[in-house]
Structures are given as structure tokens and as C-alpha cells.
Symmetry: C2
């Protein structure tokens, strides 16, 4: 299974591609698409759309896993990020590919065991999972690889096929259980406007 | 000048097209693109993207004016709306068309004189501006026409060419002044997290 992870962003949009045979993973590629804040919003979106089309038709993944966007304090940023995530969904649909979405917290929890992990921890664990000779950089690329790795380890949130939904190991089951609890706690926090 | 207004939404996306000769306006068309909440998000975005491409290549407007999205209480809705607004921007850029954005409050203020106007007031004023024989319906279509009318009356917020930026009447200047004050008050409210 070839998973193309997307860390959406207007200024930098990370693309990370990982091949998985069961839970065994191999690094395939990492790119960062970038646009300048001095460009018009519509030109930035067009550039990113064309970039995503190129990446997805170039790598021909089986699934596109995209960071799930939530409202944060910086609303302008989150709306732009949501638009880029929407473009990734659009391009997946244009290529008849399924999509999955994992939140940043799920990704951090999946790759580092800590939902509040720092960027460098994610880079280190991505390098370890994929046997990279150095830390993947910039962060946006590392985050996109982490998104793909998260989907391979933890595909249950997939909006699609329930890919790999069978044959979980005991460790995976425990992880899923812990993750569910974490999500419940997170939802509770969100309910209180945090 | 032919203005294509967009009231973005995942379930219903309004398109309203108005031709303007100075401040004289003529109704050209109104459509509502719709998708079902039972469809996958990426399929909804693809359907709306194709719909917007069809509308924009069919009407060949000079400018695309899109409702500016702000964070509201219902975050899921606002992120979907932002994604559809992003698609409208993308399609405009693909057609080398300028875009403008006006907030719902600016639109209400421009067409009814009241930034808190109810839906039916907007319908009535749109019918009056465009000499329609009955109220435009559904609301999403009326709102898209109102977006176009707002841009014709008040193009200053255009992110683009400063279209019609010269030759304002005294009434328009007063209106702009009042509108600036309103925006300043609104920004102040937003700064307090309202």
C-alpha cells in the first residue's frame, strides 16, 4: 500500500509518501510545495492545486491521508489550511482515490506515543520508522511523512474503506483503546471551548 | 461588467450573476449547486468544483465575488464553507479572473442598509435592485445575487484591480465612510473573541 500524506498549508504544504507492507514501511518521497504570502490567495490556491495534482499523479498512491484541520486561535491560518486540505481532497476525488484524515494529535500519538510531542521528536521518530540517514526536514515534510505513517499504524479513522481494519495485533488493539480514550478526553475539552 | 457572486456552502452553493453598467444592474442568472451530506466530503468538493467550473465558463464573468468566511460557533460548517470558497477562488484563478470578497455583514449593509438584516429583507432588496417579478429563492441564490450587487455598489474591498475605484458619488463616499467605521467596530469585537 502506498500512502501519500499531506500536511496542508498555504505557505508550505508538505507531501510525504510511504510504502507499507503490513506494518513494514519504506520511504518513497517527500516534497514541500510553497507559495508566498505576497501572492493573491487565489493564485496560491491554484499553485497548490497544480502541485498536488502533479504529486498525486506522479506517485500514484493507493490512498491520500490528510491532516484534519480544527479551529484554532489563529482563524485566518486555519481557514487557509482548511482550503488547502480541501484541494487535496478534491485532487484525490479527481483521481478516484480514497482519503483518510488524522488530526495532528493522533499523528503525534501514533508516531511518538505523546499527543503533545515536539516537532523534533516527530522528525526523530519518522527517521527511525523509515530508516532515514538524517532527520527529515523541513517540518512540513516530516509532518506529511508522519501523517502517512500514522495512517499505516492506525487506519481506523479512514473516512473510506476500513483499509487494514482486520488482523490487529494485541499492541495495536491496546493502542486503539488508549487512543479512543484520548479522543474522548479531547472532545470533552473541545466542548468546553478549548 | 458582469459579476458572478458566490454564496459558498457544501450542501447548497449559490451562484448569482448580475450585469452592471455603472450602478445600473440587470439580472443575468441564478443557480444553486447542491450536494448531499450523505456523500463523502471529497466527492462533494469534486461535484462543487465541477459545478463552479461549468458556471464560470458558462457565464464568463469579469469578476468573481465570493462571500468572505469567518470563524463562527459551528466550526465544522465554517471549515466546509471555507473549502468551497477556496474552490471558487481556484476556479477564478484557473480562468485568470480577479476575485473579490465581501463578508455577509457587508453584503447585508450594502443591499438593505442593515448589517443584521433578515433573509427575507435581502430577498426583497435583491428583487428591487434587479426588478425581479418575484422574490429570488432559495436563500442561497438570493445571497449570491446580493454578493454580486454588494460588489457592484461597493467594490473597494476587492482584493484585485480597484475596479470602479474612481468617480464615487457623494452618497457612495458617505457609505464607504460609514462602512469603514462599522468594520473597525467589528474588528474590535473580533479582537475580543466575539
Amino acid at each position: 500500500m502506498l500512502v501519500l500524506g499531506v500536511d496542508p498549508g498555504l505557505t508550505r504544504c508538505g507531501i510525504g509518501v510511504v510504502e507499507a507492507q503490513g506494518l513494514k514501511m519504506r520511504f518513497v518521497g517527500m516534497h514541500v510545495l510553497s507559495t508566498s504570502p505576497s501572492q493573491k490567495q487565489e493564485e496560491r490556491l491554484l499553485r497548490l492545486y497544480e502541485g498536488l495534482r502533479g504529486e498525486i499523479s506522479g506517485f500514484r498512491p493507493d490512498i491520500v491521508s490528510i491532516e484534519k484541520v480544527f479551529a484554532q486561535k489563529n482563524t485566518n491560518t486555519v481557514l487557509g489550511t482548511a482550503q488547502v486540505a480541501g484541494l487535496a481532497m478534491l485532487v484525490a476525488a479527481q483521481n478516484s482515490l480514497p482519503t483518510a484524515m488524522h488530526t495532528p494529535t493522533e499523528v503525534k500519538l501514533a508516531v511518538t506515543g505523546n499527543g503533545m510531542a515536539k516537532k523534533v521528536q516527530i522528525q526523530r521518530m519518522v527517521a527511525r520508522f523509515l530508516s532515514l540517514p538524517s532527520l527529515p526536514s523541513p517540518f512540513d515534510g516530516a509532518d506529511a511523512l508522519a501523517q502517512a505513517i500514522c495512517h499505516i499504524l492506525h487506519p481506523e479513522d479512514s473516512s473510506v474503506f476500513g483499509l487494514m481494519d482486520t488482523g490487529k495485533s494485541e499492541a495495536q488493539k491496546k493502542w486503539i483503546e488508549a487512543s479512543e480514550k484520548f479522543k474522548a478526553a479531547k472532545n470533552k475539552m473541545r466542548g468546553r471551548g478549548m
